[in-house]
């Protein structure tokens, strides 16, 4: 009896101790943080380690070889091409996404009948699994049965029986990868911009109208300055997603023809996971990091600005 009471008292003491904010706050937070540190922080450090070794799947700890992997990667023409492609794909796609999403958001700004259905269709590329939707593109761009080729033949732009070989020619394959990236990121940028539009006070636009502003002037002098902070967020996310993506390239071209559409992420996969060359794969992956870091700093600055503004 006394023992039971003792345990009860200890338990309730323990509970009140746990209930103190100074104890409770970290107790509740630590599991999530520990999970992230263990499964994100540790692998990241391990990637750094791998990049300084000659590790392979057969010998996952390898031998320390200094910066030899980085030297190797920068001398390798395929890796240099992948590095350049990663930047060019991202830049081209994001410029197009920014222009098109601004136009589209302007057109969708005001409510209209059927807007919900239109939004669902417009958002499909973003909300569907990209590895599956890209297979749809693979079929659209098929070497022999491409529907685009059929249409071009119908319009007389392609001789009968001829094909474009969209994914078989470096220039067209390059365009195809960019197009699919634009297709995928455009919905996200558009909804973010639409949220920005809904935060613009109608008075501002009415006033501009009274002052005789036309649509372009209203856009340029009233909307754009107010949309800019939101557009930056869309741009940062688009950049991060496109820059680090390997799915589109993997499904569409496998990096081909002749490694001309290879990007860092896909090359790291082929070298590190398929080829088992862990150290070189990890090194190529790490080349993504500097850009990610810069983007993260800008995200933080955007967040801080929002914090100050409120």
């Amino acid at each position: 009896m006394a023992v039971a009471e003792g345990i009860g008292a200890a338990l309730s003491r323990g509970r009140t101790w746990l209930e103190r904010d100074r104890v409770l706050a970290p107790t509740l937070l630590v599991p999530a943080v520990a999970y992230i540190v263990l499964l994100v922080g540790f692998p990241f450090l391990f990637a750094l380690y791998l990049s300084w070794t000659d590790a392979t799947t057969g010998n996952p700890f390898g031998r320390f070889i200094g910066l030899a992997n980085f030297a190797l990667v920068f001398q390798d023409p395929v890796a240099s091409r992948a590095l350049r492609n990663t930047f060019v794909f991202t830049l081209t796609a994001q410029v197009l996404v920014m222009v098109l999403s601004n136009v589209l958001a302007l057109a969708l700004r005001r409510p209209f009948r059927g807007r919900g259905a239109v939004m669902f269709l417009l958002l499909l590329p973003w909300v569907a699994p990209v590895s599956l939707s890209t297979i749809g593109w693979l079929w659209i761009l098929h070497a022999r049965f491409s529907v685009l080729d059929w249409a071009l033949r119908g319009l007389g732009l392609l001789p009968p029986g001829a094909n474009m070989f969209w994914l078989g020619r470096p220039d067209l394959a390059f365009g195809a990868v960019v197009a699919v990236h634009v297709w995928r990121m455009l919905p996200f940028a558009t909804v973010v911009l639409l949220a920005g539009h809904s935060a613009i006070p109608q008075d501002f636009l009415d006033q501009a109208e009274v002052d005789g502003a036309n649509l372009w002037q209203k856009y340029r002098h009233v909307m754009l300055p107010l949309l800019a902070p939101v557009a930056v967020v869309a741009l940062l996310f688009g950049t991060i997603f496109t820059f680090t993506d390997m799915t589109v390239v993997y499904v569409l071209t496998r990096g081909g023809p002749f490694d001309t559409t290879q990007v860092l992420a896909s090359l790291a996969f082929f070298k590190g996971i398929v080829g088992g060359n862990l150290s070189v794969g990890a090194t190529i992956s790490l080349l993504l990091f500097p850009v990610l870091l810069v983007a993260a700093v800008f995200v933080l600055r955007a967040a801080r600005r929002a914090e100050v503004a409120w």
């Binding site: 391990f46 669902f120 499909l124 699994p129 599956l132 949220a195 967040a303």
Partner: protein, 282 residues
């Protein structure tokens, strides 16, 4: 030009513009849907108008996908992984978000943004060391590898979303409950969580759809056909040599992507709202 004609032209222009974008966005899905129901002899005849059903529609591709490929198994695997990831995410996210929203004050907001940044760490940065971690844990070629690793994506995002959501709920009700003799955790369980159901549902949908969409980790950790998820099984295993079975391939891609897309669509507003001025970024 009269102002009425101008307005009319503007409306027509806007409809045409939006229509063109809708076609661009939805065409690949429409194309999957059409292909899924076409007979092979129709599909592979370059003379046929591909927009037309030149021969009657067929269910043979769907049948093939379900009976001759592991599609059904991949769907089940995806559901299992999704359920596991949802459980882990809820267990870690709810306490963390509560702590960040209610107990840590100003620092809680900053910490939640720091945690969110982890969401921006892409799988392509970590998949090589992560595959070694998975091997070390003995989880390669199992669904568990994905259930363990996917929370590194879902927990940062959902902690941030949920803490923003909780911060938007009034403190007074919990304080009243505590005055009435509830403990802090009691007030959390009895008062706050019931109010937070919409936020928790968002977390569930996000964890599930992000798991169903993920490709890079799944491709890296799982090579056994029977253990794959839909997002990897369809693009990687439905190809026989160099011959694609376009009918079954499109049928499976369409069937698997539309439900995931519809689920994700339900929560996209909340996701986007959080980046813009009204949400958790403040």
């Amino acid at each position: 030009m009269s102002s009425r004609t101008r307005r009319w032209l503007l409306t027509v222009g806007r409809v045409a513009l939006v229509g063109a974008f809708v076609v661009f966005a939805a065409f690949p899905f429409a194309w999957m849907g059409i292909t899924a129901f076409k007979q092979n002899s129709d599909l592979y005849n370059p003379q046929n108008n591909p927009f037309w059903f030149n021969e009657p529609p067929t269910l043979e591709h769907l049948q093939y996908a379900f009976t001759k490929t592991r599609f059904a198994r991949w769907v089940v695997n995806t559901a299992l992984v999704g359920a596991g990831v949802v459980m882990v995410t809820l267990l870690l996210t709810i306490p963390a978000a509560y702590s960040l929203a209610r107990l840590l004050g100003r620092w809680g907001e900053r910490a939640s943004i720091a945690i969110f940044l982890v969401y921006l760490v892409p799988p392509t940065l970590l998949f090589i060391p992560m595959s070694l971690v998975v091997t070390t844990l003995g989880l390669q070629n199992t669904l568990w590898s994905l259930i363990v690793v996917y929370p590194t994506i879902t927990v940062p995002l959902c902690t941030w979303l949920l803490s923003g959501f909780l911060r938007g709920l009034p403190r007074e009700l919990e304080e009243a409950a505590m005055v009435d003799g509830c403990t802090r955790l009691g007030a959390l369980g009895r008062v706050l969580l019931p109010l937070a159901v919409p936020g928790i549902v968002t977390v569930i949908i996000f964890s599930f759809t992000l798991s169903a969409q993920e490709f890079v980790y799944a491709l890296s950790f799982v090579t056994a056909t029977a253990q794959k998820t839909v997002s990897v099984g369809v693009p990687a295993d439905m190809v026989r040599g160099d011959i694609f079975d376009w009918g079954p391939l499109m049928a499976s891609a369409f069937l698997a992507s539309v439900p995931v897309a519809a689920l994700y669509y339900l929560v996209i507003e909340r996701f986007v709202g959080s980046f813009t001025l009204s949400g958790a970024f403040r």
